[in-house]
């Protein structure tokens, strides 16, 4: 795994999407791989994101809505968005209240695709 390339993907996402403040990538069982964080605790964020992703997938299947696209949580102080990265990993993105969610959904596809390649190496 090219660690610098993984981090570059995270920082590029923050620089290119208005409102992205922090991000991390982790295995689906919640083990941190890399983070571009400021105030969030990376290990805890990774573990909670894994739980969030699993819950989203289970709920989607339970109600017959098919494959998960992403899990979006909106709080008073911002957004938490979790994407699956292939079958083994995830990407969690934190954003402020003004996060351009639509732009993030489009731009994050590239990040996820690159992370899949990088994590498989």
């Amino acid at each position: 795994m090219n660690k610098e390339a993984v981090l570059a993907e995270l920082t590029d996402l923050r620089k290119e999407v208005p409102g992205v403040t922090e991000s991390a990538t982790a295995s689906v069982d919640g083990m941190l791989i890399a983070s571009d964080t400021d105030q969030a605790r990376p290990d805890v964020l990774a573990a909670l994101a894994a739980t969030t992703l699993g819950l989203g997938k289970s709920t989607g299947h339970e109600v017959g809505m098919g494959e998960l696209r992403e899990v979006v949580t909106r709080c008073a102080g911002g957004h938490i968005v979790v994407y699956a990265v292939g079958k083994k990993a995830l990407l969690v993105v934190l954003g402020d209240e003004g996060l351009d969610v639509g732009r993030l959904h489009v731009r994050s596809r590239t990040t996820v695709a690159h992370l899949v390649d990088l994590l498989d190496q």
């Binding site: 795994m1 660690k3 993984v6 981090l7 995270l10 920082t11 923050r14 620089k15 208005p18 409102g19 403040t21 991390a24 295995s27 069982d29 919640g30 083990m31 941190l32 791989i33 890399a34 983070s35 571009d36 964080t37 400021d38 605790r41 990376p42 290990d43 805890v44 990774a46 573990a47 909670l48 008073a76 102080g77 083994k88 990993a89 402020d96 209240e97 003004g98 996060l99 351009d100 639509g102 732009r103 994590l119 498989d120 190496q121």
Partner: protein, 266 residues
């Protein structure tokens, strides 16, 4: 319908301002959807601009909540009462959260700041969407809104100031770093951490983008803040590789039990 720039019309901000000017003169009611480096919407009613929103500038909610001016509880209660019926302003006043004048000033401040943010980053196209009878309007429209000509004049004045700030290297999207050490007493200076742009700082503190950039200019001229070529290096936490490329979990390693509530049944 899409408003696109006229040939030879150089400034990208001109697309937005020309579109506002044209629709205001026509007495338009509906939304201008702006697309460019930032997306956003400008809402007009009878030719007057009543609201604008963009991810590039804090809206009414972060302006009130992040600044600590209004509590989350008070905002949520007023929103639940008034927003579904298009009467958020009335609910805020009735509950004593804000005065009527405060509401009007707040709505106009957010509106002008959003148009400034969009014009500053540039707009490629403006799509014109006439109002639909059943569509919900903006949560807190300015009443009676801003005259188009006045808004354009104000935005042009702000763009002129921003052009001067750009000579210092300050734009809405450049990352900023603090040059002085220690704990600064100025909240704005304290929030400059190498990872935030002027736009990010405006959201973090619940201040308008224009006002934030103005204050940053003072700090830059005082030598307390400078621009970074790129964002600071992240506080990287790269985990050792395991044979299959992904890390293995060790029970309790994340300290998640310190965050989640204790479950005695498990």
């Amino acid at each position: 319908m899409t408003d696109t720039p006229e040939p030879g019309q150089g400034r990208p901000s001109g697309v937005l301002l020309a579109s506002i000017e044209r629709r205001a003169k026509d007495g338009f009611t509906g939304t201008l959807r702006a697309e460019g480096p930032l997306s956003g919407e400008v809402v007009l009613a009878g030719g007057r601009v009543v609201a604008a929103a963009t991810p590039g500038a804090p809206g009414v909610e972060p302006l009130l909540l992040r600044s600590g001016r209004v509590s989350d509880e008070a905002w949520s209660a007023a929103f639940a009462e008034g927003a579904p019926h298009g009467r958020l302003a009335e609910a805020l006043v009735r509950r004593g959260v804000l005065g009527a004048v405060d509401v009007e000033v707040l709505a106009l401040t957010a509106l002008a700041d959003a148009v400034f943010a969009l014009a500053l980053r540039g707009v490629h196209t403006c799509t014109v969407m006439p109002a639909k009878p059943d569509a919900p309007g903006p949560p807190l429209p300015a009443d009676p809104g801003l005259d188009g000509e006045r808004l354009i004049k104000e935005t042009t004045r702000r763009l002129g100031a921003a052009a001067r700030w750009q000579e210092l290297g300050l734009t809405a999207s450049v990352f900023l770093v603090r040059t002085s050490n220690g704990l600064p007493s100025d909240p704005l200076l304290a929030a400059v951490n190498g990872r935030r742009t002027a736009r990010d700082l405006a959201f973090a503190l619940g201040r308008g983008l224009f006002a934030t950039m103005w204050s940053l200019t003072d700090l830059m001229e005082a030598g307390a803040v400078t621009t970074a070529e790129s964002a600071s290096e992240p506080s990287a936490h790269v985990v050792l590789e395991t044979p299959d490329g992904l890390p293995k979990r060790l029970r309790g390693a994340s300290d998640i039990v310190r965050v989640l509530p204790f479950r005695p049944d498990r």
